[in-house]
Symmetry: C2
Subunit: 155 residues, 2 copies
Amino acid sequence: MAIDEVPGSVGTTTSFSLRMGQAIFSSASLLFMSLSAEFYSYTSFCYLVTIMGLVIPWSFTLGLVDGYSVLFKCPLRQPGLLLIIIIGDWVLSILTLAAASSTAGIVELLLKAGGSICPPKICRRYLISAAMAALSWFLSMASSLFNLWLLPSLL
Amino acid sequence: MAIDEVPGSVGTTTSFSLRMGQAIFSSASLLFMSLSAEFYSYTSFCYLVTIMGLVIPWSFTLGLVDGYSVLFKCPLRQPGLLLIIIIGDWVLSILTLAAASSTAGIVELLLKAGGSICPPKICRRYLISAAMAALSWFLSMASSLFNLWLLPSLL
């Protein structure tokens, strides 16, 4: 099976859009979290910021590689490199899911506690941040699965 | 590749121990969570209880299938059934991870809030419950990966 037959694998336009989506969603998550200056008082929020800080350069770099492959028609065909990308995507998607769900759990608790602990305006930002992280997780998992699908044909 | 060459796939003793481990850890998680009668006031804790209620019968049933396969020497060799098991394991492991991390996030917040909101004795139970759920996630993911490894040889 040729690489071009697997949509979403490294070096295709689908993969490029997935990577850009990941970078955009994780940047939005990081931005909405950092906009409220009190995020460092909750461990989960700090964790989310850390993970997003890892996901953004990873997705952006792989997005650049995809863009390069598409523009100059030289797809990546090394199983070793593909394996590193799959494992990296997979680990990052697990970490992102954990960060998103722990953030969502805490935001739900803060929303229930009411305005005295967390003003609605700030709480809504936390909520948007958690939702963006969840979307980033979804795209990251999709990338990982598409590449995993491609791997056996290269070995 | 024969089925017996892939350790941890359906119908081997390793798989049987993985399933029993999952069932034991998720039961322990459910038990420690239910021991404190106030768990229903937190959405994440209710979510954890729901997911554990799904994981326990799933792991226990598959554990029985494995035990049967090992005892009567008739391994499961149907790709369709294996695919259902892989997808089920995978979905349940994602749900378990989300439940475990949101519980852990909230427990961390409650521990920081101090004794007035959450007595240390109760909080410690929540913490043990989250840790057990994380262990159950780990074993469930291992099962899913082992079975995924087996799948291409059956197709």
